[in-house]
Amino acid sequence: MLDQSEFAFNELRHLVSDRAIKGETMLLNMGPQHPSTHGVLRLLLELDGEIVVNCFPDIGFLHTGIEKNMEAKSYEKAAVMTDRLDYLNNLGNNLVYCMAIEKLADLDVPVRAQAIRVILTELQRIGSHLVWLGTHTLDLAAISVFWYTFRERELILDINEMVSGQRMMTTYFRPGGLWRDVPVEFEDAVRDFISIFPKRISEYEAMLSENPIFIERTKGIGVINPDEAVHWGITGPMLRASGVNFDLRKVEPYMGYEQYDFNVPTHTDSDTYARYLVRMEEMRQSLRIVEQALDKLPYGPVRSNNRKYVPPPRSELGTSMEAVIHHFKLWTDGFEMPKGSVYAATESPRGVLGVYLESDGSTKPHRVHWRTPSFDNLQMLPVLAKDHLVADLVALVGTTDFVLGDIDR
C-alpha cells in the first residue's frame, strides 16, 4: 500500500498540467467537506490566481453499494433501498424501480394508482427544484430565498408523511401499485398546495429574476451548446436549457402522462440563467399536471389483483386458504420473476433516471443497474468550469443540481 502523501502526488501527476508541477499554478481541494458542494464531493482544482485551469471531480465518498446490496435482497425488500439513491426524488426512484418490475412481470397497475403516482412524483419534482433553488441561491449569497423555498417544501414533505408515514424515505410505490390508498385528507392538502404555490413562485421570481447581482452571477456562465450537451449525455433541465426539447414524459409517456396537458419548457441561451428559467417554468408545469390529475382522480383499487406478486389484503386472510398461502409465500420468499432483462426510464427532476433490471428467474434480482442523471451531468463540470472564476464554479455546481447519493449509489 502506498503512503497517502505519495499516492496523492502520483494521483495528481498525470492529471494536472506541467505548470502545477513547476509551481506556477496552485492546487486546491474544494471539498469533500465544503458547504457549496452539496454533499460529499471533492473537487481538485488547479488555479491560476482566481481562474480555474483544471477541475477534477473525485466522487465515491457516498458509495453505499446499493447495486450490490440489491442483488442480495428480494425484489420487494430491495425497493426500500431505492429511496436512498437520490434522496430528493425518493418517490421517483420507487417509481422507476416498480416500473421495471411491472414491465418484466407484465404486472398491471390500476388507473387510480397511476394517477396518484403522477401526483406524488410531480410534487416531488417541485420539492426537488425547491431544494435546488434554495441551495443554488444560497451559494450565490442570496440567503433569504432558501428560507422561503424550504417553507414550501415542508408542505410537500407533509403530504409525503400523510400518505406513507415518512417524510423522505417513503417506499410508497410498490410493484403493482401503491402500498395503500391515500387518506381522505390527501385531496385537501394537495388542493391547498395548488392554491398557495403559484403565488410563491412569483415571489421567488420577484426576488431573483431581475435581481442585478443574481443576473451578473448567472448570465453567460457555463454555456453548453446543444451538440455538446448530447455528446456529454446531459439530460433533464440542463439539456432543455440548451434548446433540446427532450422530455421522456412526452417522448415515451409512462403512467398515463399522455392524458395530461403540459408544456416542456426550453430555452436557447444555454447558460446558468436559462437553466434557472427552465426549472422555474417546470415547477409551474408540474403544478398543472398535479391539478389535472387530481381533478380526474378515478376511484378504484390502488394495487393489482395479481396475487403472485401482490400480497392479499388483510380481510382475505381470515377466510381464504389460498390468500394465506400467497401471503406466506410473498413474505418469506418473495415473488419469482420471469427470466429476462428490462430497461425502464423516467424523467426525474435531474434528467433521465433509468433502471436496467436483469432476472435469472429467482426471487432476487440478478443485476440492477441505475442509470442516474447526476452521474452524467457532473461529468461535464470540468469542461464548464474551465477558465471561469472560482466563484463561478460555485454557481456551476449549483446549476448542475446533482445529488451525491444519485452519483455514488
Binding site: Q4, K68, L104, W232, G233, V342, Y343
Partner: protein, 170 residues
C-alpha cells in the same frame, strides 16, 4: 419494434453479421468485442444515435465463456429510438476498446465498469477506480465477490477487531 428501427437492425445484421435479439420490447444486438467500436461509430455517424444512455455490465459467474455481458444503450433523440448492444466477454482479462471519443460520458461509465467489474478499456485516457477507494482490492460487483460485513465491536473484542482493521495507523 417500429419499422425504422427494424430497417436499421436488418442493415446492421447484414453489414456486421451481428445477431438481433428482442428482449421484452427492447431490441438488442449481440456484438462481438472486435466489432463494437465499428458499430458504435456507424450508429453514431450514420444512423443518428448520438447519446449513450446506458453503459453497464452483467456478470454470469460461474460461467466463464462468456462470463460478462457489457451492455450499451444508444438513443436517438431525433427519432426517439433506443437500441441495445450486448457484448459478451470472457472471464479471463476482459477487455474492450474505449468509446470516449464518440460519447464523452463513456469516460466515467467505463471507469465505473473497471472499478466494479474489472473490465479493461483499451485506450481510455484515465482508467482509475472511481467509486471505491484507490487502494481497494477486487471488483465488488462481480458475483464471486462476497457481500461482506463488518464485525460489531463490543468492549470485550474491540481491541482485537481494531487491530485487524485496514485503516491507517499511527
Amino acid at each position: 419494434m417500429d419499422n425504422e428501427l427494424q430497417n436499421i437492425v436488418s442493415v446492421l445484421v447484414e453489414r456486421f453479421g451481428v445477431e438481433p435479439k428482442e428482449i421484452r420490447d427492447q431490441t438488442s444486438l449481440i456484438v462481438s468485442p472486435e466489432k463494437i467500436s465499428e458499430i458504435c461509430q456507424s450508429l453514431h455517424d450514420e444512423y443518428g444515435f448520438p447519446w449513450l444512455e446506458v453503459l453497464t455490465a452483467v456478470d454470469y459467474w460461474p460461467e466463464q465463456e462468456p462470463r460478462f455481458h457489457v451492455i450499451y444503450f444508444l438513443y436517438s433523440i431525433e427519432k426517439s429510438m433506443r437500441i441495445g448492444l450486448r457484448v459478451p466477454l470472457p472471464g479471463v482479462s476482459p477487455s474492450l476498446p474505449t468509446m470516449v471519443e464518440l460519447f464523452a460520458n463513456a469516460n466515467w461509465r467505463e471507469r465505473e465498469l473497471w472499478d466494479m467489474f474489472g473490465i479493461h478499456f483499451e485506450g481510455h485516457p484515465d482508467l482509475r477506480r472511481i467509486l471505491m477507494p484507490h487502494d481497494w482490492q477486487g471488483h465488488p460487483l462481480r458475483k464471486d465477490y462476497p457481500l461482506g460485513y463488518e464485525e460489531v465491536q463490543f468492549t470485550f473484542n474491540a481491541e482485537e477487531i481494531d487491530r485487524d482493521k485496514p485503516y491507517a495507523k499511527e
